[in-house]
Symmetry: C2
Subunit: 230 residues, 2 copies
DNA sequence: GACCGTTTGTGAACTCGTGCACAAAGCGGT
DNA sequence: ACCGCTTTGTGCACGAGTTCACAAACGGTC
């Protein structure tokens, strides 16, 4: 596998040596979690078959995914669990540390602040902020809630790279703009709006309402086909 | 279990005659929300261009998506907002009512119970259950928390069709099995595990940890390419 | 060292989703 | 009734992602 030779002098911002597709990147964290489970169970080696079953994908897809980040398996044997964990962590960038700021400390913000997933694997919640003065000063999960006016200061001081938006829909775009303005380039959005951001900023959205509606569609499809079969 | 394992090359594709692709279905709720905003603003007609911008997709993709559910636009004019809302709602199955049970009333369960998105558009939270006896009896968002042992009774009585799993990872598969056993065919999973379910059951997962790790990957990619440009 | 069963890594075919470009279709003005 | 402007719906080409199938590679055994 050769490293991409950039012959174009054009300063295109992405599509450089990505070579790892978005679909693969979305699955790597799953593999990582499954592997961590194997490691805890004292298993030193896994085959693509075992890993695939545990991760809920096909063995071929799994092997192709892993092949995109190098040849780290041993033919006839499988993959060394610890080594694979290290490699995936490295590719995902989890060997670095990322500071996260959570904006909006409503029901959801509370839950997020207490979520253990943030603490693990290189993520650290640097601050919690809210626009409601009544909430400022409250301590949640060992952090004191600060006012949203402090946002710029906080981002600069803690070198925040990831912003989590857990505000009402009406405030989300404004908060997002402010985050982007002070240099945040990754946003995780829980508000039910489509955020408008410059090209270099990555936004991932988590939207319960949408998930429910997708499930509703399939529910209807199933009940319709059951009816048709009658 | 019944999940395809080694050898059998049977593709577990659950689509029978879905003339609407999964990718399109995932976008329809977004269109619906944007359209609702237009309707609130008193706008009666929108072009694919306007809708596309507001929904964050390309105009061609939007038109193709809408064409999959019929020809509901008028050439030279655009789409009637109210009529399109009705048609998308119908296709998504939102004209029916769905009962939801939320399992696990920790931080996240609390937030979900209070989430307004459940109340709207045909979804009703029928019950909240938890395994912790200390939590049983507590009232959240107007609902009394019941013990998880009541799960089967609740599902039968309220004709629950959608189960939301907000338990710790260790309990998720067990809860899921019980939901499936009493007839639930759609599951929204917040626990960080890969659920094993029979073919006819749809599972959608929401996983904060995975989203963060995907963002981390892109953060790293951006910082690396910035370094290379130097 | 050669053989054997196992498992990886990957070319190749195939499916699915996206973007382009344009003809068909409607509306309003003359 | 015609013309010109606007916008939809869609055929087509392209690219991304998935699955298949198999040769190459490896450890263990004789």
């Amino acid at each position: 596998m050769s490293v991409a030779v950039s012959g174009d002098g054009l300063p295109r911002q992405h599509a450089r040596r990505t070579s790892i597709s978005e679909a693969t990147v979305a699955r790597l964290p799953v593999y990582l979690r499954v592997l961590a489970g194997f490691a805890d169970g004292g298993i030193a080696t896994v085959s693509s078959e075992q890993l695939a079953v545990a991760a809920g994908v096909g063995p071929a897809k799994l092997r192709k995914d892993l092949s995109h980040l190098g040849s780290y398996g041993t033919r006839g044997v499988g993959y060394d669990v610890d080594y694979l964990i290290y490699q995936i962590s490295r590719v995902l960038g989890l060997t670095q540390h990322y500071s996260v700021v959570i904006v909006g400390v409503g029901n959801l913000g509370h839950a997020l602040a207490g979520y253990a997933g943030f603490g693990t694997r290189g993520f650290r919640v640097a601050a919690l902020v809210d626009a409601d003065p009544a909430r400022v000063g409250e301590t949640i999960a060992g952090l004191e809630v600060q006012h949203v006016d402090e946002l710029e200061t906080i981002v600069k001081e803690h070198e925040v790279s990831i912003g989590v938006i857990a505000t009402p829909a009406s405030a989300a775009q404004d908060v997002c703009d402010r985050l982007v303005a002070c240099g945040v380039t990754s946003v995780l959005n829980f508000a039910p709006v489509v955020l408008n951001v410059p090209e270099q900023v990555d936004v991932r959205k988590v939207d319960l309402s949408i998930e429910l509606q997708i499930l509703a569609f399939h529910e209807q499809r199933k009940s319709l086909s059951a009816q048709a079969a009658r």
